[in-house]
Symmetry: C2
Amino acid sequence: MRWGIAATGAIAAGFATGLAETEGAERAAVASRTTERAQAFADEHGFARAHGSYEALAEDPEVDVVYVASPQNRHCDDTLLFLEAGKHVLCEKPFAMNRAEGERMVAAARDRGLFLMEAMWSRFLPAYVTLRELLAEGRIGEVNLVEADFGFALPVDPTHRLFDPALGGGALLDLGVYPVQLARLALGPPDRVGASGHIGSTGVDEAVAAVLHHPGGTLAVVKAAITMRMTCTARLAGTEGSIELPAMMHCPNSLSVVSPFGERDELVRPIEGQGLRYQVDEVHACIADGRLESDVMPQAETLGILETLDAIRHQIG
Amino acid sequence: MRWGIAATGAIAAGFATGLAETEGAERAAVASRTTERAQAFADEHGFARAHGSYEALAEDPEVDVVYVASPQNRHCDDTLLFLEAGKHVLCEKPFAMNRAEGERMVAAARDRGLFLMEAMWSRFLPAYVTLRELLAEGRIGEVNLVEADFGFALPVDPTHRLFDPALGGGALLDLGVYPVQLARLALGPPDRVGASGHIGSTGVDEAVAAVLHHPGGTLAVVKAAITMRMTCTARLAGTEGSIELPAMMHCPNSLSVVSPFGERDELVRPIEGQGLRYQVDEVHACIADGRLESDVMPQAETLGILETLDAIRHQIG
């Protein structure tokens, strides 16, 4: 599979490393706003071609699939650009700024018969694969509570992407998406949201916490912050015990099953190599099979996550 | 100090044991709806007199202070009865069913120049005394996040007090009051509440979670349940580290200070004897000094907690 990467930031660099570790992944081309930056990235990460614009990457006939790693305020437009040029797309999370954008992206992919997936890499990691197996086999009975957070304390810096509202900064979109996807993985779509948060001096949500209520009465409590120290752990409680994900909950190397009597069974599931590579295998398999979306990270799931993020943002103003 | 106890349930029995361990506490009288039950309790716990009604206890001239341990739907009426009879009152938590009841109780005590305190025993325990000292000295900087929960999984049983709406059952009032008081201890009064919960088949809140937002942007996330396994721990995160209370967060025997670099300093603060006894010393000291309320658990704090509980209940329906 011939990969293109749109953007040259830290996550793009990590993903390029992941591609280098993945069988069947050809590092075909990278694009940036300047040819110089694209060329430097291509040289460093072993890409064949460097493009000075996303349009040039879209027109590159020897690219099958593009990884969109631009700032999230650009995800919708960039994804549409590559889809319209006939490329499959893996789009970094958060998939879009809101559900309406996400729906346009999904519709465009379906119209053109192209593969499209949110790069929710966590779900493809060994610990998450085991987690899904444990949930499917009912190891902790019926899950009725999910608790997850992802937050750290940065100094407020208006020049930092996370503090810039124009770039889609804030805790919820960048970090909150991980606890929200975990809640959805275990409990499905919520039917009510109660949330509160703190909008800081630069106009982004610096901290947010939300209670998600689901049909049947199960709850998830999710938190995210860029100015508060959180544990970055997760816990799923069920009728027959609980499962704990240690920090960092979005890329753990183990998980523990805790019995109702407190007996703890730690399952070691190390990430080998660059964690971002696991999702690449899924993209390859789907495209090879002619599938337009992943069963592990379906488009409806992505749109549902965006809907929850929209609901939380609406409540915190 | 000559103590009377109104009610003979489990918490009353624990309190009686606490009185027996407290210097200066005279176990004067106990009241129940039947003289037989009161006499059995008096015999078991060493009380001088047994009354077959709360009215008889209120009229007992050799009682200075009454501990009200009836079901919470009775707290307001029972407290008013004893206050009107000239007794000081220590009232079990939750202090009342709502803030309006609490205000009547506080007004009655002030009108009559009598001492009145919510039996928030946690605040008088060694670990909580240390917690307040750590917060006062700024050991973890400015606290910006409090996380606390108290919940366990009981089978749904309509005959159990906690599942009976007529007795003020549900998770929030009985258990949620502890996380809420801790949030308030560290962060003061909230200015916004976002909450959700599950109302079960018997009509009580079986699980509830709430996000409390405070002026300045600090957050507390509190949870309580009677049908879900929670960790029953608490964590206060600040600009210079965090403080963790192990299970059970309402009566811990230690607390830990965790540095921003993850260094953990465990401070062992064991409860000696019956934990309910610590608050008795405060009652004695206040009454001896002629103080009508406690600095550690002031009436405004109690009313504020009720206001928060009211707001959460309003949101969960």
